[in-house]
């Protein structure tokens, strides 16, 4: 199947580039780590009771994730400007919706790679007890990352077309990401309190719903961003 071969080719090429340069993932990881550390003393976490800490940690975690996603996707999408490779993709007989799908998937993969490192670090730093919550946490992380990545892919392409970076992307993405962040923080708080995912309703559904809506609209508008 041609579409399958095209998707794999793009994924392999971008993965190779990322493996050789680390241009997206490295700044993401370092940035997120810095946010965790700075939050540690900005909120004076060690002085707080475990219960108070649990109320602050979801917010800190989602700020770190959201900003790191912005950094990573801005780097990642800006890279396609070099040698006008974005046009190289557009010339090829690839459906533009599929192209959005690939870049969206790559954003999600970057997010997962980040969280695989970040969450254990947060557990250590903030003395969290995930207990049986890790499956629910993985689910909400995935849903919110999918929504953030969809926004980041569409608006990141806008920013890349303008030759700008993270600052403009943050301005464009974060207001629209407000529902995603609320959903992420609320659900994480419920999970960290030891309650099941279901008791976080309606937030998991909000995260999933926004992911679906933003991905659909992103796929629809992507061509308008890319095509002159």
């Amino acid at each position: 199947m041609r579409a399958w071969r095209q998707v794999v080719a793009i994924l392999v090429a971008d993965a190779r580039r990322e493996a050789r340069t680390g241009e997206a993932l490295m700044p993401m990881l370092v940035f997120a780590l810095v946010v965790l550390v700075v939050s540690g003393f900005a909120f004076d976490l060690p002085a707080l009771l475990a219960d108070q800490r649990r109320r602050l940690v979801p917010g800190i975690l989602w700020i770190a994730i959201a900003f790191a996603m912005l950094v990573g996707q801005a780097r990642h999408l800006l890279a396609d400007r070099d040698e006008d490779r974005a046009s190289g993709l557009l010339c090829a007989p690839i459906d533009r919706t599929l192209l959005f799908g690939v870049k969206w998937l790559e954003g999600i993969l970057l997010g997962i790679a980040l969280q695989v490192v970040l969450i254990p670090l947060a557990v250590v730093f903030f003395d969290l007890d995930l207990g049986g919550a890790w499956l629910g946490l993985a689910a909400i992380l995935l849903a919110c990352t999918a929504a953030l990545s969809a926004l980041g892919t569409l608006l990141g392409s806008v920013v890349a077309r303008l030759g700008r970076g993270e600052a403009l992307l943050a301005i464009l993405v974060l207001p629209a990401a407000a529902p995603v962040l609320i959903a992420g923080v609320k659900t994480t708080a419920v999970l960290l309190a030891g309650e099941p995912l279901a008791s976080a309703a309606p937030w998991p559904a909000v995260a999933l719903g926004t992911a679906v809506i933003y991905a659909a609209v992103g796929a629809l508008l992507f061509e308008s961003v890319l095509m002159e």
Partner: protein, 234 residues
């Protein structure tokens, strides 16, 4: 060509419209409408605040429709409508965001509450500021129009989601008017209609004026390009 008079040609009816609308609004809001019992005179901000909010929502809707229109038709006219509507929406949202806290501070003692309508207005303001920013950064006018259209569409689509999320997040705190607010006295309703009419009239006039500016902007780009060609620079 009598270009210097064109500004005044628009300016004269503009001034008359503003004066009439403003006078009607001030009269209705200050004298005609009765003083609200619990909040006092500050409630009179309502007659400008709510019409401004309604016109802001209208402008954002127009901006999104113009964005779709531009992406489908690629006509400069849709782009000019979009350019105009995004700016006007931002203006109305600014007015709402300034008058709202003043009213809130006086009536409830707090400048700001994270109430769905307030939060959504603030986020709308931020998103459309983003659209203005993208337009300023973009180099060529076609790219500016295309990318700003995308932002306007995303913005308009996002706002209902934001509203609902904040509603679930914080709840619908201060109900002043509408359900549970006790409704409006007949004179208040009349004053509100006058206010809505005056603000909407201002919106129409400002829209035409800003649209003219957009036309002038487009003409200049074309004229400078032509001048460059004559000089052999292109």
């Amino acid at each position: 060509m009598n270009e210097s008079s064109s500004w005044w040609k628009t300016g004269a009816p503009l001034g008359v419209a503003f004066a009439a609308g403003g006078a009607a609004l001030v009269w209705a809001a200050m004298w005609y409408a009765p003083t609200e019992r619990t909040m006092g005179d500050v409630q009179r901000i309502f007659y400008m605040h709510v019409p401004a909010a309604m016109n802001g929502a209208l402008a954002f809707l127009v901006a999104a429709v113009a964005g779709i229109g531009y992406l489908v038709r690629r006509s400069e006219r849709w782009d000019r409508v979009g350019r105009t509507a995004v700016e006007l929406g931002t203006l109305w949202a600014t007015i709402v965001l300034v008058t709202g806290p003043i009213w809130a501070r006086s009536a409830w003692g707090a400048w700001w509450t994270w109430e769905p309508r307030l939060t959504t207005t603030l986020i709308a303001w931020l998103i459309f500021l983003g659209a203005i920013l993208v337009r300023r950064i973009a180099g060529d006018p076609e790219q500016a129009a295309r990318l700003a259209s995308v932002i306007a569409i995303i913005g308009a689509l996002d706002l209902p989601i934001v509203y609902k999320s904040v509603d679930w997040w914080r709840g619908n705190h201060p109900i002043v008017f509408g359900k549970g607010g006790g409704g409006l006295a007949p004179e208040m309703r009349t004053a509100f209609l006058v206010g809505a009419l005056a603000v909407t009239l201002t919106h129409v006039v400002l829209f035409r004026l800003r649209y003219r500016l957009a036309q002038a902007e487009d003409r200049i780009v074309a004229a400078e390009r032509l001048a460059d060609e004559r000089e052999g620079l292109r």
